[in-house]
Symmetry: none
Subunit: 128 residues, 4 copies
Amino acid sequence: MALLTVDHRHPTPLYAQLEQGIRGAIAAGRLAPGAQLPTVRQLAVELKVNANTVARVYVELERAGVLETRRGVGTFVAQTQPAVGSRRGRDAELRALVQRCLNEAAARGFSAADVLGQVRQLSDSQGG
Amino acid sequence: MALLTVDHRHPTPLYAQLEQGIRGAIAAGRLAPGAQLPTVRQLAVELKVNANTVARVYVELERAGVLETRRGVGTFVAQTQPAVGSRRGRDAELRALVQRCLNEAAARGFSAADVLGQVRQLSDSQGG
Amino acid sequence: MALLTVDHRHPTPLYAQLEQGIRGAIAAGRLAPGAQLPTVRQLAVELKVNANTVARVYVELERAGVLETRRGVGTFVAQTQPAVGSRRGRDAELRALVQRCLNEAAARGFSAADVLGQVRQLSDSQGG
Amino acid sequence: MALLTVDHRHPTPLYAQLEQGIRGAIAAGRLAPGAQLPTVRQLAVELKVNANTVARVYVELERAGVLETRRGVGTFVAQTQPAVGSRRGRDAELRALVQRCLNEAAARGFSAADVLGQVRQLSDSQGG
DNA sequence: GTGGTCTAGACCACG
DNA sequence: GTGGTCTAGACCACA
């Protein structure tokens, strides 16, 4: 599977999907600090998205300290990632997030067991 | 936890969150066929959302055959739910869905193991 | 005559009139697959209707597979129109529809012969 | 077919459908001056509509001079029907009315020829 | 009191 | 500039 993807039919805005995809890939180790990202145009073509949309996400993530742009060279994952806040006290956040996922799955005919299996499979193949 | 919730800060549109929440609650059996939903205005107050936003979701789900409205009476879960397509051939759909969830989790500092545990916990408490 | 019209005095809701007008124009070939529709705002001005009302119809018809929207570009007639169900077994539907029309005509002083003539005239001028 | 009908799924409000049905039946001669209409409750049951809705239509039509109510006896078609305005100069009205009908028909997969045939058939069987 | 329709207008996402 | 989302609030149809 491609490292970064967006779903044009999903109601979540493309820019948000892309931003989350990049943040997630870094947090999960699929994109290491210092790694180079695709150019704006490459990624725009690959994701079938307007280049402005990709560029805006890169700029935003640079402002957040997640990415670094070296002019004329490219865009890279920052060496030091901004802290994210510990898990402590954020159980409600996790629960809401997972509940949304289960809702979406159930709404499309997938059971919690289906989701469970897929989570296992993806986490094994990616960093587990 | 409340049966239906929305997160005003999440980039997914409120109406899409609510629609998925209702569909999920029905699919998971937390809302049974024939059950009455909260009135448009009640739910709007409860979710801190405009009544039009709730009404839009109810109308949409009625068109889809998921809900039934009786004018002047209220809104109910339809007795016969529309088919949803078998899981067969939709593995890619499930994978994308779960990947989005894991991305979002990772981006906020939760590991795949955290998600795994939360899925187990929610599915135990809701559907056995 | 304008391609799309609504009657603000008719008891049928504006959005329903517009939806039927668009569906009818496509089915009758006055709007070909791939053709671009007026922009939401243009049509709103032309029909003296709120932009939200037009947008609502466009969104609904997109969900139904009748239209396609390209974000930031415009709204177009879908290349492949959804099936509509054969006429077989729907004679009652046609009869009810025409009866409603004749009722409305009679109530305003038009005879069935008047309607007959007008149907001939319109079908000659529009679809041969 | 029943003399008066309403379609609960049609977007036109029930009261408007009923009013038009009664006016049309009178204008077409299916309800003669002096004829008695069903009681409010009978018609409400028959049409599966709330009695208030039927009552409101009767009241409205009485105000318009189309019906007459004799207390304790029933509701009747008035002996002298209010004038409706000649057809002259109202061609645009007829055209719009028929165009709406053809749109609705085309949107449901019926051709202008289908409508033509049905108009002939109904007008023959009812008073043509 | 229930849902449905419409308006006006703000702000966002995308190209 | 295109469509999409949301709000606030008026008024209508129906039970």
